[in-house]
């Protein structure tokens, strides 16, 4: 009986020691984080830790790619030919292709003809589109040319070598056990600071100091969040940065776009007001500088939306509005149709192109597959987020150009800069069906080939 209290006391002493050690460790850990990560973020300089990490990572990935390629050569796996897609297409227009199909027939006196083989053109196009079309592939993640040691991007898994598997295993350990907890902590610190800081600034009266402070708080917190995702961002052409009273327009890949852009400047955001955690963030941010949050019911009223945006833009002291005209997340290989609403307001448009490097982490948010929380976790367990941001020169709506043409002009400039495919399909096709008017256009075009156009008929009858 006497032995047990002895053991208990020893055990409790051991436990106390253990907790003391843990506490001390935590203190050191927190001090390190503050010194190495938060202070640079607050003042905007860099200690070079992430650069070193990126260099090591690039070397490892290059080594992995070489290993995979050498093994593939040994096994003589057939490479696909030089098609840059799955099918070999003849990209002629409808007129050219049908003319070729009808070549063997004598040309009738009145322009226009029908043959049974006309349908071959439509069939071929249809089957090509079933195999690979331009639109549906934009709503899922891009396929990589070579594997980047993340399981999620591994498409046809082959066992290559023991070394590669060990490196992969080490990568899993580093990403999930070291980097992810660190990043989660940083992100929460960043967001908490954002709420506290902006609320505090909101209590100040409306001096110039207030707006300066509010910008500083915003940028600092976004920098901490960016560290929380291991973002490496390269900004190009900073002289074209959006200025007050303008509208900033960018292609949309994920919610992280906001963090990326706000690391280098302050913007007024536009969006739906949410409840819960997002709502807290939104209200806090709105206290320190004006953002535009809409109630869900108001979003349907286009005039109300346009009026509020116009009022904000016309006030030259307010921050530039940040808008993503695609309306939905696209997978960063293309730019889809820009909704014309933001281009009808009439302010100066500052286009921005954002291109992520998929080698280090896939930033696309597939909202059908992942909800916000699992998406953020995936971001935090990737290697890093690397992206390039190009600020493009300001654009204005020209004389005689309507909103749709203006939107297309801006879109092609962004697509050209970012190296993305310029599509005119609507991003809303992710969830909705295509309108019948497009089918009717195709039918009209074909009809003119069957009966001949009006000019042919009238000129022939003269």
């Amino acid at each position: 009986m006497l032995l047990f209290p002895q053991c208990d006391r020893e055990r409790s002493v051991a436990m106390e020691d253990f907790w003391a050690i843990v506490l001390a460790g935590l203190k050191v850990w927190v001090c390190l984080i503050v010194a190495l990560l938060m202070v640079p973020a607050m003042f905007g300089f860099s200690l070079g830790i992430s650069e070193t990490y990126m260099k090591i990572l690039v070397k490892i990935l290059e080594w992995a790619t070489l290993r995979i390629q050498t093994v593939n050569k040994e096994q003589q796996i057939l490479k696909s030919s030089s098609f840059n897609g799955l099918v070999q297409r003849d990209d002629g227009s409808m007129e050219e292709e049908l003319r070729g199909l009808r070549r063997s027939r004598p040309k009738p006196p009145v322009g226009g003809d029908f043959t049974l083989s006309d349908c071959f053109y439509f069939y071929r196009r249809g089957i090509e589109d079933i195999i690979e079309d331009e639109v549906t592939q934009r709503f899922s993640s891009e396929e990589l040319v070579s594997w980047n040691l993340l399981t999620r991007t591994n498409i046809d898994f082959q066992y290559i070598s023991l070394k590669l598997t060990m490196v992969w295993g080490l990568g899993v350990f580093v990403r999930y056990c070291i980097l992810a907890p660190l990043r989660i902590m940083l992100a929460s610190i960043g967001l908490t600071w954002l709420v506290i800081g902006t609320t505090a600034v909101g209590f100040l009266p409306n001096w110039r100091l207030k707006s300066w402070l509010s910008e500083w708080v915003h940028v600092m917190c976004y920098r901490i969040c960016a560290r929380g995702l291991s973002c490496t961002i390269h900004y190009h052409n900073k002289e074209n940065r959006p200025r007050k009273g303008g509208i900033c327009v960018a292609n949309h890949t994920s919610p992280i776009d906001i963090v990326i852009l706000c690391n280098d400047g302050c913007y007024a955001m536009v969006g739906q007001s949410h409840g819960g955690l997002m709502g807290v963030l939104q209200r806090a941010m709105a206290r320190s500088c004006p953002h535009i949050w809409f109630e869900r019911a108001d979003m349907k009223d286009r005039h109300l939306v346009t009026k509020r945006l116009t009022d904000h833009v016309n006030d030259k002291t307010k921050l530039p509005i940040l808008i993503f005209p695609e309306g939905t997340c696209i997978n960063n290989t293309s730019v889809m149709m820009f909704k014309k609403g933001s281009f009808e307001i009439g302010g100066t448009i500052y286009p921005v192109a954002i291109k992520y490097d998929p080698q280090f982490g896939d930033a696309f948010w597939n909202s059908a597959k992942y909800n916000m929380v699992s998406y953020l976790l995936r971001m935090m367990t990737s290697w890093a987020i690397v992206c390039n941001v190009w600020y493009l020169p300001a654009m204005h709506q020209q004389e005689g150009e309507d909103a749709v043409q203006f939107a297309n002009r801006v879109k092609s400039v962004i697509a050209h800069q970012g190296g993305l495919v310029d599509l005119s399909w609507d991003g809303g096709l992710k969830r909705a069906k295509v309108k019948d008017t497009y089918k009717e256009e195709q039918q009209k075009k074909y009809s003119s080939m069957v009966v001949g156009s009006e000019e042919d008929r009238s000129s022939n009858s003269d």
């Binding site: 070999q88 070729g100 199909l101 070549r103 063997s104 027939r105 029908f114 043959t115 049974l116 083989s117 006309d118 349908c119 071959f120 439509f122 069939y123 071929r124 196009r125 249809g126 089957i127 589109d129 079933i130 195999i131 079309d133 331009e134 639109v135 549906t136 399909w425 096709l429 069906k433 295509v434 497009y438 089918k439 009717e440 256009e441 195709q442 039918q443 009209k444 074909y446 009809s447 003119s448 069957v450 009966v451």
Partner: protein, 149 residues
Amino acid sequence: GENGTLSREDFQRIPELAINPLGDRIINAFFPEGEDQVNFRGFMRTLAHFRPIEDNEKNKDPTASEPLNSRSNKLLFAFKLYDLDRDNKISRDELLQVLRMMVGVNISDEQLGSIADRTIQEADQNGDNSISFNEFIKVGNLYFVYLET
């Protein structure tokens, strides 16, 4: 659908296919008679018609059954797309229906009817006022001449 089969709605989600005037006929070609789901095997069988012909296949064993992407099987596939009631003949009505799909509302009924009549007149050789597969082949072969030049 997520259970390993495709339904017609899945095909219609492809925008370029949905605006193709003959899109519905093409989608129909994938589904066997009376069924609404196609599995991967059936999908591949239909697509195999469109594989490019490789040179070494010409020297293959002549007793083996004809590959799916041979010229006549390709033509048979196209013939079936016209032949709506699967009776191995393209009647005037069937031709009119497919024509109507292709031109929409832009051509009047009489004009379309005369185009259909003219086409059948040109292709029909045994005088039954409809196009059989053999008559269709003669038209189709001209298309392959175009492909190979």
